[in-house]
């Protein structure tokens, strides 16, 4: 079954066409890494998928339920009702490059506030689950800390827990290690590997090519708003077919 289905997605900012007719499916348990040069539209793709941007044309669905559907007569995407979109948001979590934790909430509240106040889940159960997650990511003793008291790597782990608390069908990561010092990168990659071993469906934008090769089931190379090449990690990363992929990977090695 496909968790995420994107069909013919296009997106422009003014006259700048950023995503051009992107189609993409992610099946349950699959781990997809997205690589590509800066400005190629990777973040915009994730932001469209997580409803932070509205797409111009094309369709988007989670587990067969439509977030938006292309309307041929209007030639644009028509979004579902606000209520429906609110329900569909539970289907995914998003981990930002800059964590975006809420500075005035403790670690525990950062993770539990939305499930309790937005999704109206049972408070005790949510807190219980949050504590389990914190234990999993090695931050059990930090539940009452505020984000400023944590290292970048710890903050990012909290934001991963926040993205997981509603048991989403899928988690998106937008360059989760890019804001971190190199020595903190590994702890995040380790956490993501752990999720991968649990077969949590993930789509990860990353510049960590080795990590992508090890952890992903499929690698997508984007450039200029299109998917240039995709396939098994070893094929795309070790034996790229497209000249743009070859140039990009060659430049990374320098």
């Amino acid at each position: 079954m496909n968790v995420l289905t994107i069909e013919h997605l296009s997106k422009s900012f003014g006259s700048l066409s950023v995503l051009k007719d992107i189609s993409l499916k992610v099946s349950k348990g699959e781990i997809v890494a997205v690589i590509g040069p800066s400005g190629s539209g990777k973040s915009t793709l994730l932001r469209c998928a997580t409803m932070l941007e509205t797409m111009d044309t094309g369709s988007l669905s989670y587990c067969g339920e439509y977030v938006c559907q292309h309307d041929a007569s209007l030639n644009k995407s028509v979004y579902a009702s606000q209520q429906k979109l609110r329900d569909l948001r539970r289907m995914f979590g998003l981990v930002f490059q800059n964590f975006n934790l809420f500075p005035h909430y403790t670690v525990l509240k950062n993770i539990t506030d939305a499930p309790i106040c937005v999704q109206k889940r049972d408070k005790q159960a949510v807190i219980e689950e949050a504590r389990n997650l914190l234990r999993e990511i090695g931050l059990a003793d930090k539940e009452n800390a505020y984000p400023y008291q944590l290292s970048g790597g710890q903050q990012q782990r909290v934001s991963i827990a926040r993205a997981l608390i509603n048991k989403p069908e899928m988690v998106f990561f937008d360059e989760p290690t890019s804001a971190l010092d190199p020595e903190l990168t590994n702890e995040i990659l380790k956490t993501i590997r752990k999720l991968a071993s649990l077969r949590i469906t993930m789509m990860i934008v990353t510049h960590e090519i080795e990590f992508a090769r090890n952890v992903a089931d499929r690698v997508i190379f984007m450039a200029g708003g299109v998917i240039v090449e995709e396939g098994k990690p070893d094929d795309v990363i070790l034996h790229p077919q497209n000249p743009r992929t070859q140039t990009f990977l060659a430049n990374l090695k320098k």
């Binding site: 997580t50 409803m51 932070l52 609110r86 948001r89 539970r90 979590g93 998003l94 930002f96 800059n98 975006n100 934790l101 809420f102 500075p103 005035h104 506030d113 939305a114 106040c117 937005v118 999704q119 505020y146 984000p147 400023y148 926040r162």
Partner: protein, 211 residues
């Protein structure tokens, strides 16, 4: 003399508190209008703020007080004096607070809104649970400045002879041909502001649990 001054001080405190009660929320409404993308909201609020900040408060008090009579020939009742002062102070300070709120709200990183959005918070929840608490922390220093100025500005009510502390001090001083009432009033203003500054400092400390 002290009793007279103290009764004036009570009026000054009333002006001070009522102005804050009205101006703090009104300022928020105005700042939201000012930041709106709709022209019919942001253009009038922008002009309003510009006029309120660009003309003397003393003149605004007189316009609010005498306006109804000169323009509409509504007879002025004596208790309208106090109401006029409250109206003039409230809209004037609301304009200043609006700009402080706006700076505070615009200083919150866009990522906070985005994180809230992805987690499913409604616009209203995002504003009141996520954004406003952080804004309040950031704007306490400029708000403290305004509040301290307000304590001193209450003396402008004497323009239309509201019997607050400064009006009374001036009357006593000329009746007794003595500096003492003015000096005593000065001390009261200073103590008043000392307490206000102390309270704002406590508030700032109370919000220091995060950064």
């Amino acid at each position: 003399m002290l009793l007279d001054l103290l009764s004036g001080l009570v009026t000054s405190i009333a002006i001070f508190l009522l102005t804050l009660v009205f101006a703090l929320p009104l300022g928020l409404v105005i700042s939201l209008g000012r930041m709106s993308k709709r022209g019919f909201l942001n253009i009038p609020t922008k002009i309003f703020i510009s006029i309120m900040r660009g003309t003397p408060l003393m003149l605004q008090i007189m316009v609010v007080y005498f306006g109804p009579y000169y323009i509409f020939k509504i007879p002025l009742s004596s208790n309208y004096r106090f109401i006029a002062v409250i109206i003039a102070f409230s809209i004037n300070y609301a304009a200043y607070f609006a700009e402080i709120y706006r700076a505070g709200i615009e200083s919150i990183p866009i990522g906070q809104y985005e994180a809230a959005h992805v987690l499913g918070y409604t616009k209203c929840q995002t504003f009141f649970k996520i954004i406003m608490p952080q804004v309040i922390k950031r704007i306490i220093p400029p708000v403290t400045n305004e509040v301290i100025t307000l304590v001193k500005d209450t003396s402008l009510s004497s323009t239309i002879s509201v019997l607050e502390m400064f009006t009374i001090a001036r009357q006593l001083s000329s009746a007794q041909t003595s500096m003492m009432p003015l000096i005593a009033a000065g001390i009261f203003y200073y103590v008043f502001n000392f307490i206000v500054a102390y309270l704002m400092e406590q508030l700032e400390k109370a919000l220091n649990y995060y950064r």
